[in-house]
């Protein structure tokens, strides 16, 4: 049993370029929600600014299209107010690794129970193709005819160094695998980071579907790979660097870490959500301490 996927669509059509990876990522998210039986009225999506953020108009869930770089912080606050919602933050590599890097790092550290979808197309596409940290060194980009002067940083190493409780990589060209990964991420109790390699036919023309086919390997094809082994995850990322390949699937999951909320002594005795608790608190007892 799953919910009709049309229920997740608003009446508005996406505005992305033909061939954009966002169509597939958006579809995979809706499929994941549908297959997990999470109705649109129980999902909250925080959208960032960028091409993917323009998808906010197309969903029929609760959603907030906020500021550039802030989707993760906004989603964290929304999630803490009502944990009955499935909370998703969608943002691009510009938002995640530039403007909002601190939010990513600290959301992973705090281990809020949210799912972060990073649409990685290796450039700022909506502003017509500026270089991000993910753009290859030397590649000519907007206002950089001589090529991007600095090197990239390895986002896999960065994310793993934070000891995330869930880290996976997906590809916009494989909707079924991406759907399964997102489902795993949503089901994981804690902060799930899913980095998605995304086709961008307008500003990342080198990375064609053909290119991805040649560079993508499924983690499931590896023998004896353990998702719960941090060492395996570490070795896999080194392997990706060495082989210049992208491995997709769940890289690492640790189910033994409590979420931020579960670690709060002040919330231990509560069964209600913060969104249900807005009423006058009687300050009489606290007031006595000021006598």
């Amino acid at each position: 049993m799953s919910i009709d996927i049309e229920k997740y669509n608003s009446q508005h059509k996406p505005t992305w370029c033909p061939g954009c990876g966002n169509f597939a990522i958006s579809m995979a998210l809706k499929k994941a929600l549908s297959e997990l039986n999470i109705p649109p009225s129980q999902a909250f999506i925080a959208f960032d600014i960028g091409c993917n953020g323009n998808g906010a108009d197309t969903v029929a869930t609760y959603a907030f299209k906020g500021l550039h770089g802030r989707a993760v912080a906004l989603a964290s606050g929304a999630h803490l107010a009502n944990r009955d919602f499935t909370t998703i933050a969608e943002l691009g590599d510009g938002a995640c690794f530039h403007e909002g890097l601190d939010h990513l790092i600290n959301a992973v550290r705090s281990n809020y129970d949210i799912t972060i979808l990073i649409h990685n197309n290796q450039n700022f596409a909506l502003t017509t193709g500026q270089a991000t940290v993910e753009t290859q060194k030397g590649k000519p980009m907007y206002a950089l005819p001589g090529g991007k002067p600095e090197k990239e940083y390895n986002t896999n190493e960065l994310i793993l160094s934070l000891h995330p409780t869930f880290f996976a990589k997906g590809y916009s060209g494989d909707i079924q695998e991406l759907t399964d990964i997102i489902k795993r991420g949503i089901k994981h109790k804690g902060c799930s980071v899913i980095e998605i390699s995304q086709l961008c036919p307008s500003y990342n023309r080198e990375c064609t579907p053909q290119w991805f086919t040649e560079h993508i390997v499924k983690i499931s094809s590896l023998k004896n790979y353990s998702e719960t082994s941090f060492d395996d995850a570490h070795n896999l990322i080194q392997k990706m660097i060495k082989e210049e390949k992208i491995y997709t699937g769940v890289i690492y999951e640790n189910k033994n870490v409590k979420t931020f909320y579960e670690n709060l002594p002040s919330r231990k005795s509560f069964t209600t959500e913060l969104s249900e608790e807005v009423k006058e608190y009687n300050i009489k007892k606290i007031l006595e301490t000021f006598k």
Partner: protein, 569 residues
């Protein structure tokens, strides 16, 4: 300068880290318990150990809400502080200094003689260690000695100190012995008490509450149903976080120190969207980082409440000193035109009530509300018999079909996300009634007008500024924030002076102000900033030009003497 003899002041001074703040608070609380109206005023440097720190308590049988510049008794525990504050001692005052002797410069000697100031050297560190205490308990010795001069019951002080240190790991018996060693010290003379002005305790005064402005804001937030606090440390906002954090075990509040102010305000916004009440508090620098989010709350019509605790200067300024120069950033900050509300507190009742009002306005009008306070209010210790009654929580929730429906008031239906309600998109893009983004010229105009209409609706609801004093007064001071406290303390005996106080800064109401202008009153603008920022807002709206401005921006609050000197000039 005419000065009325109804209030006295004691100043404790030393280096940061010597327990000055604690000692001052204990003395203030003890005077409160002894039946006085009190006001505690703190000066300290932005460092942990060293520098000069002081804590002054003004006390009276009348209400006092402001500090005086000069004190009757100065108690110093470091050489530097003795020389720094010696000229702040009044005629016939006392200096009690820790040490075997007091060495003064020739100039200081002349000042002391001329003003008939009595010097007492009390080797309080030695007395403390002899009594089995530690060196820091020299403060308790000084307190005991002072208490004797004031001729107050020693048990009040002992109770206060026991209560203060109740939950801390401190040798309470040693504290007690040190107080007694000071109280019963042989250096005491009856003439000390005879020669100093000690106000009588207030007859009406029952045992009151003593708290800072930040305490009252935190309590008001709890009364308003706030369930989450997202903070990032910045003086002088930080103590709101302290009280909410320390009581979170009993209140169930979710308290989170965010990685920075942008996260804090974004988390608050996310939580408010989801239907709870969340708070964040900061000072000018942190507030500036939050401004993009404030603009986004205005556009997305999401409720948001921020406490902006002001301090002196632009940039880092003088971080632990007071000022009220953030009206401009609060009112005019943020790109684009969007509705918001800016309110300023002044004393305990307003701190407690206006934070609640901020939430009601923010939720009903779906706008960001900025509550201004100042270091002087945030960390000043005030006394009060009873806090006002809590306000009724008003949220303006209403189910609907279109989240941004165009209405006569500008206010659209807003409902809390839940499974049983219709999902909606909140957005920072310009949008249609259903939240979908638009670039259509007519739609942009329509939605912009709808949003701004809320300002007109709000302006009708908020009150006129408050007029204090004699109706027939010829001169009227105009101001906001902590200047109210000083002016009201100062003009008690001057019926020819009145005060017009602005709590609601934006939207700004000027009818009453213009009435005073039309009555040909002498108008004096009083502000704790360099350019008269409230005055500029008033001028912008009315075209009135202030010819008399009393502006202070040296990091100090207005002392009573500042106003009294102005009046007598």
């Amino acid at each position: 300068m005419k000065e009325k003899n109804y209030r006295a002041a004691i100043k404790f001074a030393g280096a940061s880290g010597q327990g000055i703040n604690t000692t001052g608070q204990i003395l203030t609380q003890a005077l409160n318990s002894a039946g006085y109206e009190i006001f505690g005023y703190r000066e300290y440097p932005s460092l942990i150990k060293g520098g000069n720190a002081s804590y002054q308590v003004d006390f009276s049988n009348y209400k006092v809400n402001s500090p005086s510049k000069y004190c009757n008794i100065l108690s110093t525990i470091s050489e530097n502080s003795l020389h720094k504050y010696i000229y702040d001692v009044k005629n016939n005052g006392f200096i009690i200094h820790d040490g075997d002797e007091i060495q003064l410069s020739t100039e200081e000697e002349i000042y002391v003689k001329k003003n008939n100031i009595q010097l007492i050297a009390l080797n309080s560190k030695k007395i403390a260690t002899n009594a089995g205490g530690t060196e820091i308990m020299a403060n308790a010795v000084l307190l005991g000695f002072l208490w004797r001069i004031l001729r107050k019951d020693k048990q009040i002080l002992i109770d206060e100190i026991m209560e203060f240190f109740g939950e801390k790991k401190i040798d309470q018996q040693a504290e007690k012995r040190c107080i007694l060693a000071g109280y019963e010290n042989s250096l005491y003379r009856d003439t000390y008490s005879d020669n100093i002005f000690i106000p009588k305790p207030s007859i009406l005064h029952s045992k009151q509450y003593a708290m800072t402005g930040n305490d009252a804001i935190a309590l008001g937030a709890l009364s308003a149903g706030v369930r989450a606090f997202y903070g990032y440390p910045m003086t002088p906002a930080t103590s709101i976080y302290k009280l909410l954090g320390e009581t979170s075990q009993q209140t169930g509040l979710l308290v989170k120190q965010a990685e920075n102010e942008i996260t804090a305000v974004q988390m608050a916004l996310g939580s408010m969207y989801m239907g709870t009440r969340a708070l964040t508090a900061t000072s000018g620098g942190g507030f500036d980082l939050m401004i993009e989010t404030i603009s986004s709350a205005g556009m997305s019509e999401t409720p948001l409440v921020i406490v902006l605790a002001q301090r002196n200067g632009p940039a880092t300024g003088v971080p632990t000193w007071t000022g009220a120069g953030d009206i401009n950033t609060a009112v005019k900050g943020g790109h684009g035109d969007y509705p918001k509300c800016v309110i300023s507190v002044s004393d305990l009742p307003s701190c407690y009530t206006l934070i609640q009002q901020a939430y009601n306005i923010s939720e009903k009008y779906q706008i960001p509300v900025i509550l201004l306070t100042e270091k002087q209010i945030a960390e000043g210790l005030f006394s009060i018999d009873q806090l006002p009654k809590p306000l009724k929580i008003e949220r303006g929730l209403e189910k609907g079909n279109k989240r941004y429906k165009i209405t006569d008031t500008g206010i659209s239906p807003r409902w809390i996300p839940s499974k049983s309600n219709k999902p909606y998109l909140s957005t920072t893009d310009e949008h249609l009634e259903n939240g979908v983004s638009t670039e259509d010229a007519v739609s942009i105009m329509k939605m912009s007008k709808k949003r701004m209409l809320k300002m007109e609706t709000l302006e009708k609801e908020i009150p006129q500024p408050q007029y204090y004093g004699n109706k027939n007064a010829e001169s009227v001071f105009v101001g906001f924030g902590s200047v109210k406290n000083t002016i009201l303390d100062a003009i008690k005996e001057y019926p020819n002076y009145a005060y017009l106080h602005y709590e609601y800064i934006y939207p700004l109401k000027t009818e009453q102000f213009e009435k005073l202008v039309n009555q040909n009153k002498r108008i004096i603008l009083v502000e704790n900033n360099q350019t008269g920022q409230l005055g500029s807002l008033i001028s912008e709206k009315t075209g009135y030009t202030f010819s008399e401005k009393l502006l202070k921006y040296d990091g100090r609050p207005f002392f009573v003497e500042d106003i009294l000197n102005f009046i007598s000039e």
